[in-house]
């Protein structure tokens, strides 16, 4: 694949001729059908993505529903002060970052590994079975998945029975997996991998099909074995896809998910399971403190934005594929 995937459109913008504006309108005239077609989408984008930003003003108010905008009391940065002053918030921030990093890292590594392995399988029937089995859990809702996980990990669940059966544990001393706070991140990471590994491989497998078979043939002539082909042909072949996905996911680093933590969390592991979203639910929405929720949401957006820019910039410096 060509490294230079920057769309051709951006090229005229780079040269600073005096006739730039004229050129732009000429182009616009030529492509007016395209421009007209994009208008509804732009309206949609504006109405649903930009207008709601108006609501951010709530974060600076002591917001009371059903009052007009002018009737709200403005309190400045009070809610932000409360957020950052609360050590609970720092704890949930830590948990959020830790869990999404775990998710990001293991999600990538496992999915790419599985995709590489699947790509090597020549037996189509077996490949299909593996793929189907691995992406089935993706279609189970977290509510059901959490129940399965809870049951498996409970004192009379499969894992404890196995440990007792193999003699690692005595009966009566079963481990309460979800009751040990330090285990939570591991359990969360493992469950996420189990649930999404198959689904995540799809995009890599698709990327692998675009690799030119002649490259493999050339490598083979040069004496590369299967493993070397994987490392030197397949991996570089999907590199651009990996990087774009990575950049996009880094933007979501503060979105560690809500459902698994909420459903698997309990009083005992709260120190490790509570993330920003749950904190917002508990202290914002459940208390009808909408301003606090918005403040936390704003914080999340700003941080995500910064992360996204940083990742994209890094990719740009390294001369890799990027978002823009």
């Amino acid at each position: 694949m060509d490294k230079n995937t920057v769309p051709a459109l951006s090229r005229p913008a780079a040269d600073k001729e005096p006739g730039r504006m004229r050129l732009f309108f000429k182009k616009l005239g030529q492509q007016r059908a395209l421009a007209v077609m994009s208008v509804p989408f732009l309206i949609w984008l504006f109405v649903f993505k930009y207008l709601p930003l108006w609501g951010w003003s709530i974060a600076f108010q002591d917001y009371k529903p059903a009052r007009k905008f002018m009737e709200q009391t403005w309190i400045g940065f009070e809610h932000f002060k409360f957020l950052f002053g609360d050590d609970r918030f720092l704890r949930v921030l830590r948990n959020t970052l830790a869990m999404s990093s775990i998710n990001l890292f293991f999600g990538f590594v496992t999915a790419i590994t599985l995709a590489l392995l699947l790509n090597e399988i020549r037996n189509i029937a077996f490949k299909r079975v593996v793929q189907t089995v691995s992406y089935l859990p993706h279609f189970i809702s977290w509510v059901v998945a959490a129940s399965i996980i809870q049951t498996t990990l409970s004192p009379d669940g499969t894992i404890n029975q196995l440990l007792v059966g193999l003699g690692f544990l005595d009966r009566g001393n079963e481990i309460l997996f979800l009751g040990i706070p330090e285990y939570f991140w591991t359990i969360f990471g493992a469950s996420s991998v189990w649930k999404d590994i198959g689904w995540n491989t799809i995009v890599y497998l698709a990327a692998m099909t675009t690799i030119d078979p002649t490259q493999y043939e050339a490598a083979e002539i040069d004496g590369a074995n299967r493993f070397k082909k994987m490392i030197y042909v397949t991996l570089p072949g999907i590199k651009s896809v990996v990087i774009v996905l990575l950049i996009m996911n880094i933007g979501y680093l503060l979105e560690s998910g809500f459902e698994p933590q909420y459903l698997l969390g309990n009083g005992m592991n709260v120190d490790y399971s509570e993330n920003i979203d749950i904190f917002v639910l508990k202290y914002g929405i459940a208390q009808s403190n909408f301003s606090l929720s918005i403040a936390a949401g704003m914080f999340k957006t700003v941080v995500s934005f910064i992360l996204l820019f940083m990742a994209n910039n890094a990719a740009k410096r390294m001369g890799e594929a990027r978002l823009y």
């Binding site: 059903a66 129940s147 809870q150 049951t151 009566g172 009751g179 309990n266 009083g267 005992m268 459940a286």
Partner: protein, 570 residues
Amino acid sequence: MGKSKRMWLLALTAVVSLSVVTACSGPNNTKKNTGTTEPTNAAATAETEPKQDKVTFKIFNGVAGSKDGNTNETTIGKLLEDQTGVNFKLEFVVGDLNTKIGTMIAANDYPDVLIPDAAIEEVLNAGAFIPLDELIEKYGPNIQRVYGKSLNQMRSKDGKIYFLPIAAQVNDFIPEPEAGAGFWVQRRVLEEAGYPKIKTLDQYIELIKNYRDKHKDENLTGMVSLTHDWRFFATSNPPMHLMGYPNDGNVTVDTNTWEAKTYAGAESTKKWLKALNDLNAAGLFDKASFVDNYDQYIAKLTSHKVLGFFDYRWQVDNALNVLKDAARKDPSLDGFKYFPLPVTFEEGTPDAYLDPPGGLVTNRGIGITVSAKDPVRIIQFFDNMLTEENQTLMSWGIKGETYEVNEQGRYFRTQEQIDKIDEPFRESFGFKYFSWNWPMYNATSTLADGNAKNVASQPEVFQMTLTDKDKAILEKYGVQTYSQLFAEPVPRPYFPAWGFAKEQNSPEQLWEASKDEMTKKYFPKLVLTTPDKFDAVWEEYMKEFGKLDTAGYEKWTTEQVKAKVELANQ
């Protein structure tokens, strides 16, 4: 160019043809509408000529309970419509209540009548309810009769009444025949122990211990506890009951001084958790209690393996009903049914598991919104609902059809009628729609002729629902109903303290949220730690608990209690 011209043409044709379609369908639609509404209107007015026009109001119920539908499609609803010409279209909440109410508030568009349940404070803050004072004055003789003595308690801060609380005590107080809460134990445990009188927590634990020791190989669980999410109170409330107080939520209230005191960090809670800790050390407590969800808990209760637990009946009804049905089909399974016991810390303490006659629950209710078309008709309907005849109709039904009256004037149901009134019948007859959340006499009220308002509370009816085994066990204890095992409730005019309306985002609410989080974190630790470390963990918990403004919360609650008591004594 030619291509793009064609594009423009295409777009233009699309727009024109669209407008043609809408233009054509416009008048058509209205014609059709008027066409269908006219005859029905005419029919309606012809049918009820002497009365007012028939109207349909929309009502939104914030508690998921039943299918959406019109009240006049039920037998009771039809009768009420014949009396008043008013029909209600009921919509029940699906999904998240706060989201739904929030949308209504944001749009300032409400159904005619709103039952906002837990979101009532937001609705009041948004000014969505109209004041009812004048309407009640003019059109509400029955409302005045039923709510009369509590009207003052119902006033909001500005002195106006904005909603009718869900139910008011009328006439005499009859406790429900089954206790609302208690320490439950499997009947086979009692049978084997020879039906002892269990009064204290120690005796209760002893009873369970003895049974388990005799049946070591049956893989039994001594006690489980419900801790899932907001239902955590099933594990944190027992200290209050063990001290002999009724369910006031986070506080106990002294009836002499009307002081409210929290108990989450008190000696009583320590004692209760220590008892669980000992149970756990003896392998009698189900550790998974702290990670199980509600469904898993219910499944455990029906598994026949659990000997005892504490909980409120409404919370475990599903499990108890499953066991009851099984025992009805096969009496040999009767031993797995649970029997409620009035357990306290000390032998001499009278228990308070039966809810006492109290004030009104004033943080739940039904109100007329600013969007209502005709508040007068609605309040007239409510008033008409509260007549003696209609209250009888709503709980007992129609004489000769769903109940009978004997020579002494006592209401009862024949076996045939009891069998007939199953879930589908309750729906089609309207018992389901009119079972609660309307202005009504509450469950412990009596009708003017002395019969119980609630069918299940009528002793004659209750006796008919008992199986032979039930009667036998009640006889062993020398009582006719389960609630007779429990101490008679003492009236508390403020009751219940958990029903006090708290302002959104107030220190009281924050205290409760923080306290909940703390107890959810430390109670499992306290119960599951080894007995020698118990005191150290308790110290740690007390240090955390000390950070809360508990004194402020107690002060606020005491003020509320005193204000309510004062209003009740006026």
